[in-house]
Amino acid sequence: MTDQPAEMTCRELVELVTEYLEGTLPPAERARFEAHLRECDGCTTYLEQMRQLIAALGRLAEEAIPEEARRRLLQAFRDWKGTE
């Protein structure tokens, strides 16, 4: 069996997705990755799903600071300011 089969398989690709998106795949590997994508709807969808979920994670709602905690912190600010 050769070290670098000419065509990347889907099973290989799904394990390389993160490195691909990080831009850390070596050039030859990246070329194989992209060549496979051009031929494979399944992997194209998989990569798309990864991109979509990453974007969605970036939009997850954040908790607002509870009023009591906010009040205490602003008081702490005044104390800190006052001690100078």
Partner: protein, 219 residues
């Protein structure tokens, strides 16, 4: 973050205003970053009350250090750094120390494939070895919109909450907060290579959870 318009448009403005002791700057800082700070604290300490305490401590640390902040990193990264230091001290005190050298691998789980192997054809398939047997399906005509719904956000939140600690910290910093890999690795005291491995596992889990969730529903 929805809410009142920001008074301060940049780190520089915020820092300058804090150095002038303007309370509105601190108010904006806590409004903007309380959520992210609490999330990060929860990746370090499981107890929510403890997490809230260290966030409060971190805010005080921010005030005490603001005059010395050198802007070598962003304000947010610097605040995260303060928080993570406090968390480390707290964990140490609570006798849950993991020596730094052993951090790689702590808060992680056993490695496994990102996709169920049954989804692929076997290696001795005559035409398509290791290719999809059951390829993934698009998540509807508008997946981006679908992923914004409260239900899917809840699926993502639950999956993240169930991640091993370090995977949770990594995906929180990288994907929820948009911290760069270099900064996230530095904050967590791990190599970028290890960070990528953890990120890969965490994202794969979220994808699987979403796929399972969408699988039973109409697009």
């Amino acid at each position: 973050m929805t809410g009142p318009a920001r008074l301060y448009q940049s780190d520089e403005e915020l820092v300058a205003a804090l150095r002038r002791r303007e309370e509105s700057a601190f108010a904006e800082l806590i409004d903007r970053y309380h959520g992210p700070m609490l999330r990060l604290a929860m990746t370090q300490l499981h107890d929510r009350a403890h997490a809230e305490e260290i966030v409060q401590e971190a805010w005080l640390g921010v005030l005490q250090g603001i005059d010395r902040f050198e802007a070598r990193s962003s304000l947010r990264t610097w605040m995260f750094h303060i928080l993570l230091n406090i968390a480390r001290t707290r964990r140490h005190r609570e006798r849950r120390t993991v020596p730094f050298s052993a951090l790689e691998g702590a808060g992680d789980d056993a490695p496994g494939p990102s996709v169920d192997p049954a989804r692929f054809l076997s290696g001795d398939h005559p035409r398509w070895p290791h290719h999809w047997a059951t390829p993934p399906q698009r998540w509807g005509p508008s997946p981006e919109e679908r992923l914004l719904s409260r239900e899917t956000q809840a699926v993502m939140e639950r999956t993240i909450a169930a991640l091993p600690d370090t995977q949770r910290a990594v995906i929180t910093l990288r994907d929820l907060q948009g911290v760069t890999s270099a900064e996230a690795a530095r904050l967590l005291g791990i190599t970028e290579g290890h960070l990528r491995v953890l990120l890969h596992r965490a994202r794969s889990k979220v994808r699987r959870a979403l796929e399972a969730y969408f699988g039973d529903r109409q697009p």
